[in-house]
């Protein structure tokens, strides 16, 4: 008996085993979580204790019939009716609509395929076929990749513990910049076919496929290319490979449909999941070599720094709600009234729910643009102003220069000077890796050079213990000297810099309100 002494409590799952095993945890007969006992556990009493993952904590209140199996076997190692946490009733790991959820290999709560009917996955399967056809139209031969390829080759089905579908293609290009341009073109073409997409990196994006129950399923499209005798496939693969192992594509059956796969799927699966890819492993973790991650990250990544945190924040309908404009915009407005210097247009970078855009619209009635990385964040204000041609809300990623270009072009046409540009809790909401201060300086210069208006930036300069940064989900405090220096490097003049306590509490956080402009071109002398 390889696995013994199993016990389950609020701390986690404890067991002893002479060898590494993959264990499936089921609640009331449904698989919820899988783990490797040795790899994921900590030493305890001569065995291993695997803590409950954080993504399950909120659900572990109540009773359930908990069973534990070694993955891929019928053997039950534990089968008890147990109570966890403080709550009553049956434990139900479900989403807001009651759809069953389980943990994927990264311990994320997802709607896995093992509970889905053929009807549920039909839109995804349709999308796979359509997207493969669309890739063909732009001269790219797409194929099933990662877990979707694994499912097709291993059993002709989507893998039960998987939650999305993956497609790959191998570009004819070998230069990373050309691969990125091609990926842009593919995404644009799919958009014109009506698909909603979201970009991960310069070489990968997700297609958002609505399923029959209204939920959204992701279909990831990973770009690949050959370079120096290696296949590079976003986001985990770099391995010695021959082009002839990909082309001409072969076919495999997935959920009853015949779909393209690489010529030698075995080789691709081996470099993806290792030589034991035929053995199912719902707790598989990529051990991508550092050199591969550095290459793929260096060429393609860097446009989603801190993005996950913001997606999570705005997934809560109450986050960022409040009434009226921000204190910063009120200060700006007071100065406008005092000095009689109303702007001719307004741009709020990182507008969140869009309240400042609405306030500025009410005060000045000028063309206004609210920019936020989260498409749904300003939805209510966007709906409120849907009939007002002066107001626009755009999805905008500060870390993508194409977005800068689009905004600058739009401003040149539709947002007259003098422009008021605000960026409140933006540079402190993105980790330093994303270099948000330099990116904001570039954008502000594009909008305000030549005396075209004024920039107001507000950010956290001292992380206090009043809970202010946590409430706003800020990533870090930023040194005002760093912001001033970046703006000055971009040609700005710092007009003023005020440090303000965020609350009246002792140990209050301090915010910095910095004002900058770009001087008007000097006249005379055309040497």
């Amino acid at each position: 008996m390889p696995v013994t002494d199993v016990r389950v409590d609020d701390e986690g799952v404890f067991a002893r085993s002479a060898r590494e095993v993959i264990l499936d945890v089921c609640f009331d007969g449904r698989r919820i979580w899988s783990f490797w006992l040795e790899r994921d556990g900590e030493a305890r009493d001569g065995g291993r204790l695997v803590h409950w993952p954080a993504s399950l904590h909120d659900y572990l209140h109540g009773t359930t019939r908990l069973t534990l199996h070694e993955h891929g076997t019928e053997q039950t190692l534990y089968d008890e009716e147990i109570s966890l946490g403080a709550g009553e009733g049956r434990i139900a790991v479900v989403d807001k609509r009651g759809n069953p959820m389980a943990l994927d290999k990264d311990n994320r709560r997802v709607k896995t395929f093992d509970n889905r009917s053929a009807d549920h996955v039909r839109p995804l399967m349709d999308a796979i076929e359509e997207v493969l056809a669309a890739l063909g139209k732009v001269g790219v031969e797409g194929f099933l990749a990662y877990g979707t390829l694994l499912g097709a080759v291993r059993g002709g089905r989507l893998i039960g513990h998987d939650s999305d579908a993956d497609l790959g293609y191998v570009s004819a290009h070998s230069q990373p910049a050309d691969v990125v341009l091609e990926s842009f073109r593919i995404q644009r073409d799919l958009g014109s076919l009506g698909y909603r997409t979201s970009r991960y990196s310069g070489a990968a994006f997700k297609i958002l496929v609505p399923e029959s129950d209204g939920s959204i399923r992701g279909l990831d499209v990973f770009g690949g290319f050959m370079r120096e005798g290696h296949l590079h496939l976003m986001g985990e693969i770099r391995a010695p490979f021959e082009r002839s192992w990909i082309f001409p594509l072969a076919t495999a059956t997935l959920e009853g449909r015949t779909l393209p796969v690489p010529a030698d799927a075995d080789r691709l699966l081996s470099v993806t999941y290792g030589p034991s890819w035929r053995t199912p492993d719902p707790a598989f973790k990529f051990e991508t070599p550092r050199s591969t991650t550095r290459r793929l990250s260096g060429w393609f990544r860097g446009i989603r720094t801190s993005r996950q945190d913001w997606d999570r924040a705005y997934a809560q309908s109450t986050f960022g709600r409040g009434r009226g404009p921000s204190p910063m915009l009120r200060r700006v407005h007071d100065a406008v009234e005092r000095e009689g210097t109303a702007p001719a247009s307004y741009i709020d970078v990182g507008c969140g729910r869009g309240r400042d855009v609405s306030a500025a619209q009410q005060w000045y009635g000028v063309p206004s643009l609210g920019l936020d990385v989260h498409p749904k964040a300003p939805r209510l204000q966007a709906e409120r102003h849907a009939d007002n041609d002066l107001v626009r809300f755009w999805t905008f990623n500060l870390l993508e220069r194409r977005h800068h270009g689009a905004v600058a072009a739009y401003a040149g046409l539709a947002l007259p000077a003098p422009r008021l540009v605000t960026a409140r809790h933006l540079v402190d909401a993105i980790e330093a890796d994303g270099d948000p201060v330099a990116r904001l300086a570039e954008l502000a210069r594009a909008l305000l050079a030549g005396g075209a208006g004024t920039l107001h930036v507000e950010f956290l300069s001292t992380w206090g213990d009043d809970g202010y940064p946590e409430e706003l989900r800020l990533a870090r405090a930023v040194d005002p000297a760093e912001v001033s220096a970046a703006l000055e490097t971009a040609g700005a003049r710092i007009v003023r810099c005020d440090l303000l306590p965020a609350s009246d509490e002792p140990g209050a956080s301090i915010t910095c309100h910095l004002v900058a402009d770009w001087s008007a071109p000097t006249t005379g002398g055309d040497r």
Binding site: Q175, A177, V180, L181, R188, G405, A409, L413
Partner: protein
């Protein structure tokens, strides 16, 4: 002379230099995404803008933005 008496670069010196070199390599790789972004802007936005009329420009910009 330093080499003869065993006073070559220290391990710390090599580690620092390695970190610098890694950062420099990464800096070069980063240019790829930037080049692609700027090329896309020029070919998909600026060239059509320059070739088109003023009335269609706003729609063109909004269409470009929507395609990102």
């Amino acid at each position: 002379m330093d080499r003869l008496i065993g006073r070559g670069p220290s391990t710390e010196d090599f580690e620092r230099r390695l970190a610098e070199l890694e950062a420099e390599v990464q800096e070069c790789r980063n240019v790829n995404l930037r080049v692609a972004e700027l090329t896309d802007l020029v070919t998909e936005l600026l060239v059509p803008l320059a070739a088109g009329d003023h009335d269609g420009a706003r729609a063109l910009i909004e269409r470009y933005h929507a395609s990102l």
